[in-house]
Structure formats: C-alpha cells, structure tokens
Amino acid sequence: MNNNDLKYVGKPVPRKDGPLKATGGAQYTVDISLPGMLVGKVLRSPYPHARILNIDTSQAKKLPGVKAVVTSADSLKVKHGFIDTPRYPADQYPIAVDMVRHAGEEIAGVAAIDEDTANEALSLIHVEYERLPAVFDPEEAMKLDAPEIHPNHPKVSDPYKNIGGKIETAFGDIEKAFTGSYLIREDKFYCQIRTHGYMEPQATVASWDHSSKLNVWTSSMGVFLKRARLARTLGLPFGSVRILKTYVGGAFGGKIDLYGHEYIASLLSMKCRLPVKIVYTREEVFKAARHGQPLIVEIKTGVKRDGTILGQQIRTINDSGAYRGSGVVAIFLAWGFAMAPYRIPSMQYEGYSVYTNNLVRAPQRGHGAPKMRFAAESQFDVIAEELGMDPIDFRLKNARNPGDMLPNGDSVKNFGLKECIAKVAEKTDFKAKYEAALKERHSGSTIKRGIGIGTTAYFSGSLVYPNSSTVIVRFNDDASVSVMTGALDIGQGCETVISQIVAEELGVPLNEIHVHAADTETTPVDIGSWISGLTYVTGNAAKKAASHAMKKLLNVAAQELGSEVQELIALDKTIFVGHSPDRKISYGQAIAASIAKNKGDCIIGEGHFRTMKDEVSPPSLSTAKGRWTENYSNYAQVAEVEVDTETGMVRILKATTAHDCGFPVNPVLVEGQIDGQVSMGQGHILSEELRVEDGCVINPSFLEYKMPCALDMVETDYIDVITETYDKEHHYNTKEVGEGYVSGTVASVANAIYNAIGIRVKKTPVHPQDIIDALEKHEHGGKGDLTR
C-alpha cells in the first residue's frame, strides 16, 4: 500500500485526550483523592555523606493526627537499581539503611491527617549522624585517595574505588589510523547538570486495600517497570501490586526508575491501611529528585587530507551521583551516539561512571546524545575549518550510507542522514550564510550572525525489561472498538497513535476507538514510554492485534455472504463482495453472527511485538558488544543565531530540522516533539544549570533555574525525509522521534556561535558573561575557547 492511500495513519489528527486536558478533566496523580487519604511526607538527609547512628521516631509517632511513621527498620532492606546485573548489582535502598550518600536521601516517612501535621511530625524525628568526608567532582572521586562511597561493593576497576561503571570497546586499528592521519585534533568538552523540568512534580498515591493488594497511582513513564521494582523491594508477588493509569504531567526521563517516595508511600499505606499521597514540592524536586547526567567528553579524531575520518578515540566521564542510577547506561549510549551516524573505521572508546556524593542521575531526553554530539559535531567543525572544508561537505563525506553495517552488528538499512544534511543545508542556504558570517565577523557591527549544523542518529527501542509489547483489540457489539494496551501516554500522544493504527487496519473511525491503557492488572505488558521504541514496538503490536481481529471478522463475513475472504472489501464498517456489492453485511451483523455461530466468539484480536526478535539480551554494558536496535532515526538540524558582542546575549533566530523518523504516523505530534526538543536544547546550551555546592542544590526554583519561556521561543521549520512506508501486509519500520533532536540543537547552536564570533564553545551552558570573557581573551591574543 502506498502511504497516500492511508486514511488515518500519516494524518495530523488531533490528539484524543485533547478535550479532556483542555477542560481540566484529565486526572493526574496530583489530582487523585481517595476516601480517608493521608498526606505523606519524607524526611531527607541534610548531609551528603554520613553514617546514621540513631533514628528516634517516638515523639513523631505520639503526635495526634499521625497515622504511621516508617524507617528502614520497617523495610525488607532490598536494594534496587536502574541496572541490576551480576557486574552491576543493585546498589540503592529505597529508604536509607545506616548510611546516607547524598543530601536529600530518604530517611523516614510519615503519614498524617493533613500537611501541617505531617510536616510537624517530620520535625519531631531525631536523627543522629556521623558526618563522613565527601567528594563531589568525578575526576577527584577517581583518585586513589578519594573517600570511598560504597566500601562493600564489588569493584569494577580496582584499585579505583569509586568507579561504579566502566565500558571499554574498540574496533579497527586506532594506532594505525592516527599514524596515517594528515590531521589529528584533541579536545575536551563539558556538560552541566540539568533538571528535566516536568511541570507535574513527582507524585504517588498508594492504597493497600482489604484484599491485601497494593494499588498505586504514580506519575511515571511506564507502569510495568514500576510494578516490578516496587513488588521486589516490598517483597510482594507481582500480582499483589497494581499500578493504575493516571495522566502524566511530563517526564522527559525523570520518572522511570523506582523512587524512594513511591516505596515509602506504599510502606506507609501497608502499615496504617489507609491511602497515602506524597507530592513533592518544587523545591524538593530540585533538591532531592534525580536529574540528568553531566558528562565530560575527551575526543581525539584523525582525518585524511580530504576530510575522510580515519579514527576516533573517546573517553567519557560521567558523575553518576551517590548510586549508579542510569550512569552506566549513559556511558554506553554515549558510545552508540558516537559510532552510529558517521563511518569511523577505527575507534577506541572508554567510559567511566563515577560515584560521587551528588544526587543520583536519571536518564534525560537524549540520554548521552546531546553531550556526545555536542563534542563530536563541534570537533568536526574545527577539523573542517583546519582543512579548509565547509561543515556540510565534511559531514556528507563521512555520513553513513543506507545498508552500512555497524560494528555491533546493527544494519542502518534505511539511513536518511545524508539526505537530511543535504536538504537542511539547501533549505537554509547554509553555505552562503556561513561564508557571509565569516566576512561579517570583522565588520564594525556589535551584533553578529552565525549558522551552524548538528546531526544525530538515534536508536528506536532496545531490549530492556519489559522488552516487548502486547496489544488486545476487541470489537464491541455495536462495532465500536476497545483497545487494551499497557502503553502510558506521557504527553507524546501514544494513545492517539495507537488509535490511528487500529483505525487504519479496521476501517473504524477514530472516535469509535476507545483506548484502555496503562493498568498492570487489566492491560497487557508494554515496553514503556522511555526507550524510544513505543511507536515502533507497541504500534506494531497494535497493528497485529487489529489485523488479527479483522481477519476473524472477514472470515465470519465470508461465511455469511457465501464468498471467499479474498473477494471481500471493507468500507465504512460494512463488508461487501467485491464483484457484487449488493451482497453485504455490516460489522455489527458480522459480530452478532460470530457470537451466534462461532461458539460465542465476540472477535478479539491479539498482537505481540518484540524488537530484534532473534536477540536474547540487550548489548553488553561493559564491552558494548551485541545488537542495540533495529531502526536508527536521523536528524540534521541547522541553527541560526545572533550574538550581541557587547552584552554576550545569544539569540536563536531559527532552528530548521530535517528528520528521518521512517515516516510520521502523526505529523502534528512529530512536529510537537521537534519543537519541544528545540526548546530543551536551547535551555541546555544557553541557560539551564543546576548549581550544586557541597552536594546541595543552591538554585531550587524556576526563579533561579532558567527554563525557556514564551519570550525565548525559537522559530522552527521541518523537512520530512521519508525512508519507510506503512504497508498493510507487513509490520512497519518507524523510528524514534522524541529524543534525538535535542542533540542537534545543542551542537548546531554551539557551531553557529563559532561561525558568528570565532569563539569555540567547549562547555554548556553558555552564559552571556562567558561570551564576553572569551571575546576579551580572544582580543588579547588568547585562544578564546569558551571552556571551564
């Protein structure tokens, strides 16, 4: 089938939950209220590293209105971790046992009849600490004399005691590559800590009911992972823990893993047998929740005289905070984002994830890509300039071609990167503007313009628990359709996308498709909204489920009409015999016939999908061996900026994105993803930074942590590069669209700043004062790199 023949897929239909959200009717976790519900609060460590000598909760327990107080003494002391493998065993208790390793770590929880009482109870808990030496800088923490953060932990890199994760991988012959290089560049780049900035704070309601079942509503990115982690740490069978759907007010990576408050709310509810709700204050989100990964990237690249890349050596250091969190994943992914987009015949990569006494890190939109691409793309431009090439030609020379095999065994079968680069350069008139800016640099004007490019290839789902998706499509008696999916819509619009796919397969209008989603008890397992594979994996499961139901419906129709299935045509919920259209049966009649004559079969379709079906496990986090993903998305993004050399202010005038997401199932949702990422990338490169002193966040408010507002809005433009089709007969190959672009924005703005003023950005964010200082240094004959 040609994409043009489609009725629902590929169309910019409005999201299904729009009216509910626009009228205030969508229930988020913060809105849940149950009879008898108590307010839960968490007592957190004020110190970044300390031994807990004693916790006295007796006074708090006596306070009228307090219904439960819990500490680790009430817990089973089971550790959890974003990663839990023999090499990287779980390393964190959901409520501190004897030690705290970061400020804000959970020590106790209280449940009381109102917020004031709960807060007062917290103030009545007395904790005795013995403070311990702490370390906050990952490079310091890697030294032999640094304080040891996890003394009883298996070491991955003796004798360095704080290295919580290490990955080493190589291919080709790096020595030979460098010896044969015409030019070799070595640079070091730094990225800051950013918060996710979800507008709905962390929130959980837990209710232990009379049938000894724990019901949990929590602001998350996938209910099945939460259930697994919660059940294990509480020592309950999976069937005794139910996570129910709520609307989610943004997540961006920050709501995946198990959080202490989810465990504590559950424990409190189990103790007092009443529902307990914990909602973070915004200050608590800033000071105690997990934030993104700061990364240091050292990168050395060798090229031939004509610009062909021969080899690349990369070392990354990630400050993973007090527990491993997703730190070891970030250093694995950073490798992936280095090797995927461009042909690099020889590469040597080592990544370190280092324990410090900082807050734990979570994945964050792009998870390593913005930092790695910022480093690589910035260095590409340096090299291109030294070779006298322009940035576009350099990239076109080295970008991968469709069908290339990656060193890990993945094929980039349908890779649109070159097309993205060429199209975005053409549409933005890149080369002319680039040259014009170089000339303008020496003019008298204090406002300089520049243009820059950044590119990415991003994975589309991988094999991480729960690995796969199942969808059930059920016809109702009136021929409307119910879809059961475990997918959780976190704002990206997956319920709408799944409905479009089901509507396409069944020929039933969108408003007659009812999605029942994200409930561990009543919906089948789902891969989750956090591994960039939902539209691909869950979407294909939905497609299979719908076509399974459709096949059953057509079989009944064939029986009833006395014809062959192949002769039938379905249109507007009626099935006709193609050559004699007056022989027809409505969907409703066919369903009734199925129930009457096929032993009550009311027509239910079932579909499963797992990416990389022949692989047993995800790639290795220590060697990077093994397949990563089936489909790589591509982007090339061009930013045009204006730099005021007097004030140091940088304005992004426009961001143009050429994107290959396979094909867009819903173009308006795709554009929304791009716009949101441009804005996040803008915050990353220009303003956002979580400032931390001795492990404590010192700017815990939107007043002091600057996220882009409407006045900062960047004009966006999009170019579709379509590399796939949606075909009714087969599964389709759509690609990631919600994470990768953020890197394009960071890299393209950094390169555009250089084009405008000749200052090479080597750290983010770029504050106006940094620009002024760098320009001053430059004027006095210094190199003028903008770095730490």
């Binding site: 507008m199 716009d675 006045l711 966006t716």
Partner: protein
Amino acid sequence: MTRPSKQIISLNVNGDDYELAVRPNRTLLEVLREDLMLTGTKEGCEDGSCGTCTVLLDGAPVRSCMLLAVDVAGRHVVTIEGLASDNELHPVQKAFVEYGAIQCGYCSPGMILTAKALLDTNPNPTEEEIKLAISGNLCRCTGYNKIVSAIKIAGENIAGVSSHE
C-alpha cells in the same frame, strides 16, 4: 502547634456562589483544589514562577498559589472547568486541541485561561503580544510554537464569529 481559626467567606466560582470556612493561611489554589475539588487548576511550583495555577479573578489572570483565599472573598473566579459552556469548548480550548498546543497538558489550563484573558481585552494580538502575555506560563513540552499559533487562530475565530453577528 496552634492553628488560626477559620473564617467564613463567600466566593463565586464558575458562576456558582459558595460559602466556605477557610483558615486564613490557605491559598486560593488550595481551596479550589482541595475544598471545591476543582483539580483542573494545577500546582507546579508554589512560588509564583510557573503559571500552572492561573485562574481568572474578575476576568484577569492571577496566580492562585500567591493569593490567600480570604483576600479574594466576594470576588468572581473562573477556573478551567468553567470555561466551556453547554458542552461546547471555548474557541481557545478548541484551537489548543486542534492545532497541537497540548502535549502532557499540565500547563494547558493556566495557559488557556491566560490566553482567554488576553483575547478578551485584545482580540487581535500580534505574536509578540501573545508571547508576552503567556511569558509567565511555563510549558516544558511544546516549545510554545503551537501554543502561540493556537492563540492566534483562536483570536481570529472569535473575531470572525463576532463580525458575523
């Protein structure tokens, strides 16, 4: 801990008159969400910096987390639940839905009410005026592009309808 005693206030919310007993330290946001169960109004920061708690007070957008309920006694409040009438979405709501201005939706109630107040006083705003009006409402999902276009379109639709009347 001693608590201040409650005061009786009357408040008109979405056209209905309420008589409420509230402690003087409670915000309008808390009273709307917890006493009247109007949870469409959201809390994002509790320090006046995000705009998710925006409601209309006598027609003007205000941050309900920054106002004490006792200080607005006797006044008219419109929350997001009071905007659609007879099951018909307000043109701003309609445009937000149709033009992709909603993603997670957490900022949407505050954003929509702010936009409505703008269009009430300035039915044909420029892009800059729109951006300025909503600059105190943070949205992390959309980058604002589709929100700004939706408000523009809503303004045009409202003007179109009234010029036909």
